[in-house]
Symmetry: C2
Subunit: 622 residues, 2 copies
């Protein structure tokens, strides 16, 4: 179906909004009246701009407080409407949204409402304009879609139809049975369809609508179930997003428009209107790539964690450090010096790398060049909303391009290699790096990526829709200097887990956003001790924390003292325990060591305030 | 009464919170368990730190999910409690908060709850500790204060009492009659009193409590009415603030603690517990002081607005520009070069300047030195939360210090005077500057000051409590790049009006916060024309705006065209019309010209989105 977006959903001047909508692939826009009033462009110039951009103007909105009023007020309303119809003629818009009245002068009289709306439609008809009447959830007398439709039906004029808005309908009653009446409305009388999702909140519906709407799939409404009813009715118009959101108002219009379009692509897929390439769910983490100008401290840290530098990229200053199935690439190329130490890319094991990339591309993820140099193995990769590069990998799988083919085994005799094969701190490890020692690292447990403030909700939708991951509930975490939010996305067996985080406020310097790599071990105490023995420093956790653990749980003799000595944090639920500890931070990045009982699905959120406070103290223990 | 604050109400590490609380004059604190767990200080060190700071530890909190559970779970709970009582011994805290259970295992059995709470109190008693039992508004079976009290009464143990929390009580039922039962509780059984206000919102009470609590007087609850009942009961303990607020979590602890203490001072005054110096409501705006390194463009702008440079400060590079009762000081001293053009100070006409300053000082406003130099007239002045200096003035009133005595009449013959008496653009004006010409400025209509993001709610409370102004409702205003909020404070006759604004997000650079001075005229069209004729540039307003005005209102012949030509905005309500237009911006500052019908109380909020968009375009019309 055609896609459209209300200009109020995007930030900036009207021309910025239009450009962003067109670039994101929308077919049309709803022109929000205030955006037009604030624009220095004439209606004719706006019309021409839209035409240049390939956008139709699908709706002019809103017209308020028109119907069911005393005659003299209705005459003034008709005068006002006529002005707007003339404007719409200049603008080239043929449908106007009329919201059910909230005026204190409106009376509860459906016959009067129908009579006056018919008069309005007659007037509109003379201008070739259609009137789409919508029930606001907080309308004074008309607040449900079926009530609005009964009035439209009674008015019985070809230029009068109804507009359905998913927010107004689902915010009042999300019972699927309540939606069945939609399919009974003749499709041609549904003049317009506005879509917005929202997080499920028990709050005043007007405030909820004005500040917390979001794109389909970002909230808690069953937009797909709603849309199915509308399609069943025979609706043929555009799918149009009308989202009032405090965050989107501040965010750049370009990325927001892309996120918006993606939400409609996913929605259309979910109701079977389109069939983009199916999601290819990743089956593991192939690697995490750090870029860093500080090769020495990062190498020392990796070595102390038990990693071995096993290979070096043939053409670039990128080392592969490995332990069990955990692989970390350390890239010290030109980008490193610019951005400081950060987690720049993630390799995801994919059953079908090319298919995963096609899915991502179909859902508007920026596709990255397959070959960085002519010699490289071609790799499918896209950029996540936070800029992290996601590589779809087939590590060691015959018949598929293997990223490890770009790497040569590390050569201890190579004089150009500053670190040597095992890093500066340890002797050469002669064991097979894929066979971790006791207390060794088996794999990457999860990656934690702090998202740009304006794109937190979008990041979850991206990972769900593009990668086919499932999203857990969002949790609040108290940092000493503000509340953080975190939401994990994961595949079914937990072999891919990404914790998406967001800070308490937009930061001028996105570069201070923390990232971490959590490494899985079967024996955290041994792992932590080995790390310390190898010169690693663990984050100091206050003694008070362990006194509280003692109050909450019973531990085997000496266990708590061990945890205390090492800075190991502990959490437990019905599915088992979660033990974890943290390294120091280099640039934006630190490591976590994790011992997770098989059934445990958490990330230590309960301990996060203590960890965050300790990181602010920045007083590492040895 | 003694004042206390929960550490959770302030940002930072525990030691920062304690220091901030002590500096703001609190007598004690509630130690929030998570703050203790995250602190590297031992309980003994925290105890010593509090003692050094002169703070008592009035409460340790919270203990959760204790009562009305199966016996084995209760045994585990007692074990946990014993750990905490030992900790409290070390900490030197003698009262613990127990919140009514939210555990799914809790049963609805008051007798069991009473029995188990009595057991807990017996255990506590052995440590010299008192248990204060509080009903959470979302408690599983106990959610009202009277229910909690009935259980405490039934348990009948001297070490068990109740804790009353204004949020939990008023969020559930704010009917004054529902509060009368409080006075029936024996005062000595009210072990603790927690105070928090909140904006009136229809939303999930748990979310409301965790994110939107605020200090008394900042929200919509009748905290004074609640407190009167508690005092009537005979409560003798501290007034303690327990405020969970997303903004305070990010704000600096020091200013937040001062704001918190001020809220308790005002609350105590409102129930007659204390009698600080009474507010002295200002009766007018004596002057607005701009500091600016750009003397020439600002002087040009003032001259074009019809101001005359009438006097110069005897000892400092400060010029007085005057027109009618509107006075603008232009300060080009050393501060100007550092901060750019901004509105740095406001003179408020005060019936009793010394009394106004005493009131401000009693409410913790920073008092500024009365004499800047030995020669200056002594002036009473304090700093507002945003740093604006507020001078309490008695302009031309015999027997009171008059700030104008520091100024000498401008001397056109003075070679050190770059501007001359009337500014660079016009000839000497021989009329009396207190008698404005037609279309002239009579007075300052209002001042608009954008507040630091973290202190918007506090700013309103400051202006209400310190200056005795009334506050209007907060309004949302759509800027193209985010939603702004604005709240006006004003005296009864509207001769002092200050619009407090706040941006959509914390800004790294508070220096980009806009400020403006609105000047009142009786004839805006003439004023705007005179301004343009004198070389002034008015903000261009889009033609579309005027087409909309034509749709909404009927105008006299030619009136709308005049508005359109001059960039005049128009609003109207039942109390009359409001016409206004804007100058260009210099630094952070611009001017507004206002023609206000006598009864109109607005500030053109309806037009603000158009004005803000036009200011982003920055394309002045001439």
């Amino acid at each position: 179906m055609r896609t459209s977006i209300a200009t109020v959903s995007l930030s900036g001047a009207l021309t910025e909004k239009l450009t962003a909508a067109a670039r994101a692939g929308f077919d049309g826009v709803e022109v929000f009246e205030n955006d037009l009033l604030a624009s220095p462009l004439t209606p004719e110039e706006i019309r021409a701009r839209c035409a240049d951009l390939g956008l139709s103007i699908d709706l002019y909105q809103p017209m308020r407080d028109i119907e069911a009023v005393p005659p003299d007020e209705f005459q003034r309303n008709l005068r006002r409407a006529e002005h707007k119809f003339r404007l719409m003629e200049r603008l080239g818009a043929d449908t106007v949204l009329v919201c059910s009245s909230v005026s204190p002068h409106a009376v509860d009289d459906d016959a009067l409402a129908a009579f006056q709306l018919r008069r309005l439609a007659e007037l509109a008809d003379g201008f070739g304009i259609r009137v789409a009447y919508e029930a606001l959830a907080w309308g004074r007398h008309v607040s449900t879609y079926d009530h609005a439709w009964r009035i439209v039906e009674a008015a019985d004029h070809p230029a009068l139809g109804t507009c359905l808005d998913s927010f107004h309908i689902l915010a009042r009653d999300s019972d699927p049975r309540a939606l069945e009446g939609i399919a009974e409305i003749p499709g041609e009388k549904i003049f317009f369809l506005q879509l917005a999702d929202a997080p499920l909140m028990a709050m005043d519906v007007l405030q909820w609508s004005r500040h917390h709407r979001c794109f389909p799939g970002q909230g808690g409404f069953d937009i797909a179930g709603f849309l199915r009813q509308v399609i069943k009715a025979g609706y043929q118009g555009p799918l149009s997003l009308e989202v009032f959101n405090d965050v989107f108002r501040q965010a750049e219009a370009g990325p927001t428009a892309v996120d918006a379009q993606r939400s409609l692509l996913v929605l259309q897929e979910s109701v079977g209107l389109t069939a983009p390439p199916a999601p290819v769910v990743p089956t593991g983490v192939a690697f995490a790539e750090l870029v860093s100008p500080d090769v020495e401290p990062v190498s020392e840290l990796l070595a102390a964690l038990g990693f071995t530098r096993t290979a070096r990229h043939r053409g670039k200053p990128v080392d592969l450090w490995q332990q069990g199935e955990a692989r970390v690439l350390l890239n010290t190329g030109p980008g490193a010096r610019r951005d400081g130490t950060q987690l720049a890319a993630v390799g995801l094991e994919s059953p079908d790398p090319a298919g995963a990339a096609k899915r991502a591309e179909a859902l508007l993820a920026p596709v990255l060049p397959r070959r960085r140099t002519p010699e490289d193995v071609p790799l499918d990769a896209v950029a996540a909303p936070d800029g992290t590069e996601l590589f779809f990998c087939a590590t060691g799988r015959p018949g598929l391009p293997d990223w490890t083919s770009d790497f040569d085994p590390a050569d201890p005799a190579d004089p150009t290699d500053p670190a040597g094969p095992t890093g500066p701190t340890g002797p050469a490890d002669t064991t097979d790096p894929t066979e971790p020692a006791p207390g060794g690292i088996h794999r990457i447990d999860h990656l934690a990526l702090t998202q740009p403030w304006h794109q937190f909700d979008e990041a979850a939708l991206f990972h769900r829709s593009v990668l086919g991951l499932g999203a857990l509930e969002s949790v609040d975490v108290a940092d000493p200097y503000g509340l953080l939010r975190s939401r994990a996305v994961t595949n079914a067996d937990g072999s891919v887990r990404i914790a998406l985080g967001v800070g308490p406020a937009p930061s001028a310097d996105d570069g201070d956003r923390a990232q971490h790599i959590a490494l899985a071990t079967d024996d955290l105490v041994t792992a932590a001790r080995r790390f310390r023995a190898a010169g690693g420093r663990l984050l100091a956790i206050p003694a008070n924390y362990y006194d509280d653990l003692a109050a909450r749980y019973e531990f085997a003799d000496g266990e708590l003292e061990t945890f205390r000595a090492l800075g190991i944090l502990y959490d437990r639920d019905a599915d088992g325990a979660f033990r974890h500890c943290y390294t120091e931070t280099i640039g934006r990045v630190f490591f976590e060591l994790v011992q997770r009982d098989p059934g445990h699905r958490g990330y230590g959120a309960r301990n996060a305030p203590v960890r965050l406070a300790a990181q602010h103290v920045r007083r590492p223990v040895r």
